[in-house]
């Protein structure tokens, strides 16, 4: 039983189920899911676009929680989790910001329509890129603390940004839609596909998180070792 549990927890197992779920997701997206009548084949971007968006929000939520835990427990592991989740979150955020316009262009005729959710994503991108910039300095206990504060502040800001961007949006005329490309009232097959895509993306997120955290921790350990050696050599 112990052996089974250690296999399940291993990195390889994680990589395998992530890979398999992604393959299944791709199959479902391209072959199983029906092509939408109005938008045509471009609609299939939605599966990975929205999955990326949800994963991104989840990543930033993890940053917030990890930042709070770091400030509370003062543990390097939580700091590593916060940094890694932020980095991966920015990657997914960038993906949302790129696939969004690619989807919008054939549907709405413009690349960017200041859609509230996409605008929220843009602002979050700015905030978490600032988070990464804050971190780029050499490892210093205080630096991690400031980043943790930004991690919390950034996420708390999300509902505020969302409200204000939606209000702002109502003041601007929407672009003339070529198609009303909504995702409400999805047929069941599309829901299934979407859920599988979301699961695949979340597994991917956790896998990347795992790897990135281990890299961060190795770096911390190495720097600790270096300091020790310097001290030994000096003293």
């Amino acid at each position: 039983m112990q052996k089974l549990w250690s296999i399940i927890r291993s990195s390889i197992f994680h990589a395998i189920i992530m890979y398999v779920s992604m393959i299944i997701a791709i199959y479902l997206v391209f072959i199983y899911a029906p092509t939408e009548k109005m938008q045509g084949i471009v609609q299939k971007i939605f599966y990975f676009h929205v999955s990326s968006a949800i994963t991104m929000f989840f990543a930033f939520f993890v940053v917030c929680v990890a930042s709070i835990m770091y400030l509370w427990k003062d543990s390097d592991w939580w700091d590593a989790v916060a940094l890694s989740a932020a980095e991966i979150g920015v990657v997914f955020c960038t993906l949302v910001l790129i696939t969004g316009p690619i989807w919008a262009r054939p549907i709405w005729g413009t690349w960017w329509s200041w859609d509230p959710t996409l605008t929220l994503t843009l602002v979050l991108w700015l905030i978490y890129v600032a988070y990464l910039m804050l971190r780029i300095e050499v490892y210093d206990p205080k630096r991690a603390r400031f980043a943790a504060i930004l991690g919390i502040v950034g996420f708390v800001d999300v509902p505020l940004i969302r409200w204000s961007v939606e209000k702002w949006r109502t003041l601007h005329p929407k672009p003339v839609l070529i198609q009303e490309g909504g995702t409400t009232g999805l047929p069941f097959a599309m829901w299934q596909t979407f859920v599988v895509c979301l699961v695949a993306f979340l597994l991917l997120f956790f896998y990347l998180l795992r790897e990135r955290v281990s890299v961060a921790q190795s770096r911390h350990a190495l720097e600790g070792l270096r300091h020790e050696i310097d001290e030994i050599l000096a003293g």
């Binding site: 700015l126 804050l134 300095e137 630096r143 504060i149 505020l160 409200w163 961007v165 209000k167 003041l171």
Partner: protein, 240 residues
Amino acid sequence: MYRDSNSFIALMSGSKVFLQQVLALLAKDLKTERRTREIFTSMFVFAVLVLVVFNFAIGADPELIRQVASGVVWIALLFATVLGLQRVGQLESEEDSLQGVLLALRDRSALFIAKMIAQMLYLLVVVICILPLCGIWFRINFIACLGELCLAFALGILGLSIVGTLFSMIALHTRACEVMLPVLFLPVSIPLTIAAVYATAQLIDGKSLSDISDYLVFMGVFDVVFFVLTLIVFDYIVED
């Protein structure tokens, strides 16, 4: 967690020592400013420059200028806030006075509140000075809605001061602090900017207080949320 409950208790019970410390810090900053007038001058001049340059950039159409006036004023205020905070930070790191102040304080959030109030006062003076200029250059009648405008500006300036002070204390510790302050401050304060700009714009357009009430409530919520958040995390910023 014990620390921030201390700040709350101190704040809520209006502890005499706490208030005294806040006022003492505030008086010190304002006295320095009154002598040199450095910070106010740089903020005011910069805000005026922003107004003028925008005027040229947008073009000669008076109707267009009138429509964007509110946005331009708040952009000027945003940049003035960043500039003012950077100057304050610079002055303090030159004198290295922060450590001494922190040692003397029993409750460190007094420092945050004092700085926040100081920044608010600077911005308030800047606003009072540039509003007549805006009225003239952008042909806006501010007098008609002065009372409501005061409320909108007060809430907005409060929010800018809170968020600005929070990030200026963080940015001070980084190497590229001139870059980090705006990079941190501007995105996070976007909601406030949006609400302030459109509240002001609608007031100028002649709408009444009830029309913009949701913007004002939102700004109030924003201010409260960030004030509380900063009080909670402030100890983590300044302690060693």
